[in-house]
Amino acid sequence: MTTAELTKKDTFLAALSPLQFNEDSYFEGLRNNAKNELNELDFPTSKTEYWKYTRLGKIVNNTYTLGQPEKIDITKFLIPNLEAHILVVVNGYYSPELSNFTEVDGVTLTSLSAAKKQGFEGLKKYFNQFTKAKKEIFLALNNAFHTDGIYLEVAKSNSVEKPYHILNITTGNNTLSQSRNLFIGNVGSMVKIIESFINVCGEKNFNNHVSEFFVAENTHLEYNKIQDKKETNFSVATEQVYQEANSNFTINTATFNGALVRNNLNIEVDASNCETNLNGLYLGKNKDHIDNHTVVDHKKPHCNSNEVYKGILDDESTGVFNGKVFVRQDAQITNAFQQNNNILLTDNATVNSKPELEIYADDVKCSHGSTTGQIDEEAIFYLQSRGISKKGALKLMINAFAKDALERISIEALQAYIDDKVEEELE
């Protein structure tokens, strides 16, 4: 730990210090705990194993101003042909004017700040519960200084067909924002969520986001995360997930660009007969840096997890994949499947891929694999020799490569939107 790094953290904390939160003593206490934790934490360096391939200089050396609520035109961020409830968060503040949703029986939906004021039972039970013991600086920063986000709770045995689409937007230059969501699926419920992380013009914005998920017994929860923040912005996002028995959790992450994107996905499978799907597709261009770190922790027997991450890296972009699967001693008959495949389109693109398995049980089926390659030139020529342009051939091959990464998305309009987006990015 050097004094220079300490200064960076101090600068960061100084930028956050004007934030005032009029919350009751319970939530204030949680923030204070996190602030105390921050005294002992510092920004990781390349010597920190967990951050080895992602240097944070771009984020921590920048000087920020705090994000403010803002009114913007959201129409171009909506997904065509998608019937969804629309929830809008701008620079970490919930925007009731821009949001557009209807009340649904069995669904409690409000901003996180409003939920805190109303003191919902579910909120006190689950908020901050899955993140507090992690001792990680970005989590602690969010725990201490998050502004607002979405609180969504689905009551027991309620299936909600119409998806919720959250637009999480940052604006301006050098804006620092910390949004925070809590999603609760009570016993036997079903809900689908999409969250788009977008930037409206501006550069060097940093959004440090946290979502917590509680997935109760027999619950199906699908979360689709679209990151499209342009090549000049930074984001760190942490998803903290807790699964109960017979539950099914699916997260699909599509990252289209970003100067520095880091996803920390932590899934705790703490009961039997669970299914967990975590899939991702990342497209890097220019000097994008896209880092996916995932942890699936199988603690109990008879669970399945499937993980497929695929990357296509162009120009001088970098991809990082680190997927860790724990199979604890109790977790017999676990099936854990993990796969990471990458295509490098240029000689200057880079991938660091690290699949990891830590198995303490003896009756399990686990596999992991990682490949990094280039587009098969011979195949491109073959397609060209049948009258397909080089660009068309490349498109066919990349679509074929990317296809199974996001096939778990159950929302058709979203699938089509992502397909179009992939094609657009490849132009």
């Binding site: 073959y382 020799s385 009258g387 091959m397 490569f401």
Partner: protein
């Protein structure tokens, strides 16, 4: 149809083709035979537009156009088809989807409407029957997990779908058993018309029992050293390539 004039080509600075002259007219079938390393596959690669080969001299006129000036895809759209010696496996890209893209890109090139789904399916049905290709294979990924014979039949199926003016069959007989050979050759013969032409490149005479050539050329050391009728193939089979080599030495 195609006029090859004094064609020289090299790869990595090494000259492989040393002045090829060949003219193929509509309705004709030409066979090019020759020992290993004589430049047979280089010739087909250069004509199809493979980038690794550099044309250092000569010209190729295809249907009035300068073939060497066209990108590989434009050569295909203009009606050139190469059946690969080693068809490439392309996981994830379906045979059908790829062929539809190919047909539509060709149509767009000639400012034509895309093929309708109905029309396309009828075409697939008709043409796959021609080479006895299981319709299941048509729906699979391009060549992925196909047997050697299935790959070659798939080449001829694609040829039928694209109805080229000039087809070059590069060692299509290699790796085929006698039944597959018969099916492939039957397919090629059924596609023959007075308006198209075929160049059959082969090491062995065997294929020429089924696809009967009008002309046979012997390629040796980057040049066509002997041309004749279909009987030349039989003579070659009987006397072996050494006969040609010896004859050349005597002449020199």
């Amino acid at each position: 149809m195609i006029k090859i004039n004094n064609l020289h080509a090299s790869i990595d600075g090494k000259e492989i083709l040393k002045g090829i002259n060949l003219e193929v007219k509509a309705g004709e079938v030409h066979a090019i035979m020759g020992p290993n390393g004589s430049g047979k596959s280089t010739l087909s690669s250069v004509l199809a537009g493979r980038e690794e080969f550099e044309v250092t001299e000569g010209s190729v006129e295809f249907d009035g156009k300068d073939l060497l000036d066209l990108a590989p895809e434009d050569r295909a759209r203009e009606g050139l088809f190469l059946a690969f010696q080693y068809p490439v496996e392309i996981p994830g890209v379906s045979n059908i989807n790829f062929l539809k893209t190919a047909i539509n890109e060709k149509r767009a090139y000639f400012n034509q409407e895309p093929v309708s789904a109905k029309e396309f399916l009828a075409l697939v049905k008709e043409k796959s029957a021609l080479v006895e290709l299981d319709s299941k294979l048509a729906n699979r990924s391009v060549n992925e997990g196909f047997s050697g014979g299935e790959k070659k039949r798939n080449e001829i199926f694609q040829m039928a779908m694209l109805s080229p003016k000039l087809s070059i069959l590069d060692e299509t007989d290699s790796g085929l058993d006698i039944d597959a050979l018969r099916i492939v050759a039957n397919g090629v013969n059924k596609l023959k018309s007075p308006n198209n032409a075929t160049i059959v490149i082969t090491h062995y005479q065997r294929l020429l029992d089924y696809i009967v050539p009008d002309f046979v050329h012997v390629l040796y050391n980057g040049k066509i050293v002997k041309s004749g009728g279909k009987e030349l193939a039989l003579e070659l089979e009987e006397k072996g390539y050494d006969w040609i080599k010896n004859e050349l030495e005597v002449r020199n």
